[in-house]
Symmetry: C2
Subunit: 526 residues, 2 copies
Amino acid sequence: MKSTIMDYNLSLNNIFWRVEKLYYDREIVSRLSDKIFKYTYKDFALRVRKLSNLVLNKGIRRGDVVGSIAWNTHRHLELYFAIPLINSVLHTINVRFHPSEMSYVIDVANDKLVFYEEDLSGSIREIKGKTKASFIPLSKETDEEIDSFNPVEKYEEIDEREGAVICYTSGTTGHPKGVVYSHRSIFIHSLALLPKDVTGISSNEVVMPVVPMFHISSWDIPYASLMTGAKLVLPGPRPQPEDLFNLIKREGVTIATGAPTVWISFLDYILKERLDISPLKVIITGGAEPPKGLMKTLKDKFSVRTIHAWGMTETEAITTVNLSEDLDFLNKQGIPMPGIEYTAIDENGREIRWNGKDMGELIIRGAWVTDGYYNNPEKSKEIMVEMEGKKWLRTGDMVNIDENGFIKVVDRKKDLIKSGGEWISSVDLENAIMSFPPVLEAVAIGVKDEKWGERPIAMVVLREEFKGKVKEEDIKGFLMSINKFPKWWIPDKIVFVDSIPKTSTGKLDKKVVREKVKEILKQSQT
Amino acid sequence: MKSTIMDYNLSLNNIFWRVEKLYYDREIVSRLSDKIFKYTYKDFALRVRKLSNLVLNKGIRRGDVVGSIAWNTHRHLELYFAIPLINSVLHTINVRFHPSEMSYVIDVANDKLVFYEEDLSGSIREIKGKTKASFIPLSKETDEEIDSFNPVEKYEEIDEREGAVICYTSGTTGHPKGVVYSHRSIFIHSLALLPKDVTGISSNEVVMPVVPMFHISSWDIPYASLMTGAKLVLPGPRPQPEDLFNLIKREGVTIATGAPTVWISFLDYILKERLDISPLKVIITGGAEPPKGLMKTLKDKFSVRTIHAWGMTETEAITTVNLSEDLDFLNKQGIPMPGIEYTAIDENGREIRWNGKDMGELIIRGAWVTDGYYNNPEKSKEIMVEMEGKKWLRTGDMVNIDENGFIKVVDRKKDLIKSGGEWISSVDLENAIMSFPPVLEAVAIGVKDEKWGERPIAMVVLREEFKGKVKEEDIKGFLMSINKFPKWWIPDKIVFVDSIPKTSTGKLDKKVVREKVKEILKQSQT
């Protein structure tokens, strides 16, 4: 029996309606290179309507793609609405992409227009000739041009399954691949972020998303914040710990998001300067496992709670959360939000048991999970799997799932090391090495071994004061001293380096690490 | 551009998946006539699967309708899932309907099977012969029969726009009219109930829905609670204040829902018995304006917060909420939840200004708003209106809307009294009369008047101790003594009665009141 409920499109129209009608007096704060800019939701909405008209005036039409190479600022936020509300698609481009990657994604997404930050004009100059797109700086002059336009009077209804935002992976293998988020997926994901059991963002909170707006829509946190009338604080270009601190204190930030590395350096600064960070209450972190020391200091010294979240470009944004008060349990990535289903499968495609021990690849489906990549049927096929008549996304993450559905990411599938028929988690090995105080950073990979199949090798950066003093044997000795640490996990070789290769989103770039290790091993053999 | 996000059906399947996979150890408590029954989500889910098979065994198929005439119990909750999960539709029938109304709705909804409470077998006997449905008592014998079935192993995927629950209005005009809620609308509404800015229901809360499960799905609160793993306490048949109190204390209820009348008699009892109601923190109320005295006592004496909500059968359940801490502001019905849009229109169909003064009929659209009535094109046409190319539901509620989008329901459109070209709100007049301590209940209607068009007449029930002592003049004198009370609002006549006619959902039945008043006026003239 068909329901009598109307076909109402879940779209950014509804969020924007709330911005204008219910919350127009709320505030948006945006840190720019030279000042702190502030305006109300009302002024923001007016600018969105004018910017839409500017973009229409440049010839952009329904279905066209408009790029942004931008920091977390109010100007970027205006694009977050002005483009999708005219049924065009905003292509958020990773600021840290190499110019060749930038022109690649501009090309394959077919961007007609690209808005870019003035401080990145160096990169832009390199790509300008190489793409068909026109480029507009996010500058004061453009601000003035926007203001000269009339606001769009009325946005048309948009089918909820239309694309709103396209984001490319910053994967370590091959070319970036595109995922197109729909109005519907952004709406549902934003709504699903609000419950107390997820982020608890509400109209009484002051939210600072440090997660880049150029990557997976800053976890949709800006959309969720505007949906419920929270004050939004955008930390701007290359925010340093001091900038974050100033924004927290001056703007009263209560909830902030960011990768663990952001909070590690932030906390270093806070402790060194002996500062207090109230009113901050909650940090939502993900992208990598947050170190227990970080969470413990936040909790014990500053009464700040850590929420551990997990997601990937292919799942739009946050998909699981862990709100445990128990820091030993908080290293798990959490349980799925409403609208998501998952399980994990072994090498034979069989579902693993949910016992917190058996390991398998996480497969996932839900209201903000992709069905494949944009214009890339070949790669799409690789990531989708069918089980019980349903399609699931293969995440490439090896996990265990406990009795209550909490996942623990053990490793990326391709980074797992198989030695003597047993699995070694490169992530766990890295964390063990990094818990040795002289170590600043570590990365572990598997290299082929005739006897064992694979054996682990680690690359380590020592803290300045320990360089030349700590030897390979010291680290191995430390690992051996850890209770219950499997002896056969100890790397065959530890290579000391000055820095570890990272991707454009700051993750360890194991592809490059593998090549470097290969070279080093070759040299040591000759 | 079409998005790459998968077509994932927002359905009860996802909620049920969470019940089984994530929250299986949570508790459901159900007050029965002879005992308190408790089980876990896991046992509940198993029963749901068995009940589905029983129903399939009785010949129920996809699209068929199964009725329930039931209180808020675990058995009713099992039907809430067991029927929609096999893509059949649960028809929740108002327990307080007259047997003739019951057989009417069973007939027009085409129920094949009806589950009913044993304590209502009197009504059931009257209707059994008159409908084509089979009847099954919600009894111990049926429990045993359910347990004898194998659980359904796998529920099929369901299109999100399929009907899940059908509910009939208990309108005071004409026959009940049906609204079919979809899997999608129940899912989105349940999710939209969870944010802090709405109800704040979370896995740490103990929720007791006193709003009947036979009417607008108890505001979808049972679905929302199970979606997020809250402990659910169902207050069973005809719960009295003492029953509610016992459940709150013994089960640790923190959030409860119910119409103002429920909480008025509850508070009378609590105050008389000098009881304490911790751990109760929040009461969500709606259906009528909660008296300020009620909210004040709850806040000052018991630190219980009142959330004022609004909705109607045609909007599935809750659509606006007011979380204000200011009790003078809390009489407004609130702002719309994400997924809803509204405005109000005057007699000429023009949008009113949102200034908190201008009055118009509330029109509404959104993800859980109906597009008409089930199998009733004529009545459907009456309630839908088109504006700016969009379809809106006419709510029949006259409201003003303030600058921040808060609605204040002034009156039902058909109950407004127009005297000398000016509007009198029957609701406001009733509230004014009821603020006179000797008055227990009051109802006001308009009667035709040659000079003024209409004039208000009130029907009043005095408290026992004041009967025969308080006269018409005393009430008029009291109204005159209220500062700023418009003199021309004072009723021309006040009729004392022993009780006021009510509908099956406990609302004032103004249709019957009008007839009675007509009779009384005729008698007084002769």
